[in-house]
């Protein structure tokens, strides 16, 4: 059941909000013991909100009665925002994040809070405080991160749609590993007010759901400037869903060949390369492109991210150091110990990256690349095999994710095949504020492919 179809049925009165919420709560009860995608479930509150929604006589919003869930770095009034950490275990916000307010204004009902890597600062979602989230396609594998709970939840249909956050891949990685669709929006398109920060100049909130159409519906609800967040861009954007049907005949797609050829496991590269036929079949014109300085983009992003993250946590590093998990503690401390010129160096090099990125978009409308170089590793394994060599998992993902974060670009990750039973993803990258184009391309791709319609065996059974 796609979010889009569910929303139609709810608005049409074919299904009530209570029935929809009860159906998802039953699935959570039945399946999430094995997945651990939720940190908190608002069962009674969600049912009460569904009943209240049914009693209201005003018009039905685009997400009327649609059950959703949000990553546990996003505030929901009255529910602890733990960020899967011990430090924030009792952090109960008095107000909701702007994105949650917007979801609710559109009629959505929040089922609960989703598991994440501790403080969203890592790509495994194996918090020692809340336990690992498991991949629905193979539960002994990670679901990625940091929005791993959102990816697993969407794949197992434990909510009709979810929100995650992405600083350097945290929406795209779990989207790829769990065989679902995710959107990292342009930096500044969606408010971060009421969201636990990782690194301010890269942080974004975005949807993870089954399809580009589902994500478009969620994105157009949460997007837009916000007086609570001075980093949001002025003006209105979208709509996104209405533009999906326009197709991509003649769309110029640049293939970032370097990412298909270097530092990627060959079976993953082959699967994603084969999926490009879907874009050709939909009418796009594909050409290989090179981006100046691209192999430095990841390093530039890391130079800034390390320092910003250390700044976010500087107080707790002094007072609560032992309460961090070892991996997050080490990365945060590393940022604290960097030379003071590191951050400005990153900002200066970032200007060169912006210019290179803009040059390539004079030639193409969309870029494509593998979302990840590997499939989901086993839980507990912090290395992956790439072309017969073991490499550190955390380092393997940087060239595929950090570059697009550095330039603040929108990226849609779509399911693009399987390797040994585990999903792989294709990343579609647009110019800044080019969400309409990348979502249209993703939707056109999904009209001629069926990867996004596949479901893990664990998640079988009707939703409603």
């Amino acid at each position: 059941v796609s979010l889009a179809r569910l929303a139609e049925r709810l608005r049409g009165g074919e299904l009530s909000p209570r029935e929809a919420v009860a159906s998802y709560l039953e699935r959570i009860e039945r399946l999430d013991g094995e997945l651990n995608s939720y940190i908190a479930v608002r069962a009674d509150e969600a049912l009460a909100e569904a009943d209240a929604l049914e009693r209201r006589s005003d018009s039905r919003g685009p997400l009327y009665g649609v059950p959703v869930a949000v990553k546990d770095v996003i505030d929901v009034e009255g529910v602890a925002t733990t960020a899967a950490s011990r430090i924030l275990a009792d952090n109960v916000p008095a107000t909701s994040a702007t994105v949650v307010e917007r979801l609710r204004s559109a009629g959505a009902i929040v089922l609960g809070k989703l598991n994440t890597h501790e403080f969203a600062y890592g790509a495994m979602t194996t918090s020692q405080h809340f336990g690992p989230a498991h991949n629905p396609w193979a539960t002994d594998h990670i679901c990625g991160g940091s929005s791993g709970g959102s990816g697993a939840c969407a794949a197992a249909e434990l909510a009709a749609g979810t929100l995650g956050t992405d600083t350097a891949g945290s929406i795209r990685i779990p989207s790829s590993f769990n065989g679902v669709t995710g959107v990292r929006p342009t930096h500044g398109l969606v408010s971060n007010a009421g969201v636990v920060p990782v690194a301010w100049s890269f942080d974004t909130v975005g949807p993870i759901a089954r399809s580009a159409e589902d994500c478009a519906l969620l994105l157009e609800v949460i997007a837009g400037s916000d007086p609570r967040d001075p980093t949001t861009a002025r003006g209105t954007r979208g709509p996104y869903a209405a533009a999906l049907a326009d197709g991509i005949d003649g769309l110029r797609v640049g293939v970032v060949r370097a990412l298909f050829e270097r530092d990627i496991d060959p079976p993953v590269a082959e699967a994603v390369k084969a999926s490009l036929d879907g874009l050709r079949d939909a009418g796009a014109r594909l050409t290989d492109v090179e981006i100046d300085l691209f192999d430095r983009f990841g390093t530039i992003q890391q130079a800034m991210q390390f320092v910003e993250a250390a700044s976010v946590h500087s107080g707790w590093l002094r007072t609560r150091l032992a309460d961090y998990g070892p991996d997050v503690r080490a990365r945060l401390l590393a940022g604290l110990f960097l030379p003071p010129t590191t951050y400005t160096l990153g900002q200066r090099a970032r200007r060169l990256a912006y210019a290179a990125f803009e040059r390539v978009f004079a030639e193409v409308d969309v870029l494509v690349a593998p979302t990840m170089p590997v499939t989901a590793p086993l839980i507990g394994d912090d290395t992956v095999e790439i072309a017969g060599t073991r490499v550190v998992y955390r380092l393997s993902l940087i060239p595929f994710n950090s570059p697009w974060s550095l330039v603040g670009a929108p990226v849609v990750s779509v399911p693009a095949g399987f390797v040994d039973g585990l999903p792989v993803g294709l990343a579609l990258v647009g110019p800044r504020f080019g969400e309409e184009t990348v979502l249209r391309a993703a939707h056109a791709f999904q009209r001629v492919t069926d990867w996004h319609g596949r479901r893990p065996a664990l998640a079988s059974g009707a939703v409603t």
Binding site: L321, A334, F337, Q347, A349, R351
Partner: protein, 64 residues
């Protein structure tokens, strides 16, 4: 700091100045991180020219 990055003793002294109290195991992990990132960051120095000013923190100056 040596060519390979700061020693554990140097990191420990820096930690004291910063008011943090990491364990030796923490400092060994930090040392490992710095051994990877410091050379990469040093290469960025060669990328930028003296006249290259910092980009905006959040996004390019001009919004489309």
């Amino acid at each position: 700091m040596t060519a390979g990055g700061p020693s554990i003793d140097e990191l420990r002294r820096q930690a004291e100045r910063l008011g943090v109290s990491p364990t030796d195991a923490d400092l060994e992990q930090v040392q490992g991180f710095l051994a990877v990132v410091l050379p990469a960051f040093a290469e960025l120095e060669e990328l930028v020219a003296p006249g290259d000013t910092p980009a905006g923190v959040f996004r390019p100056e001009v919004e489309p």
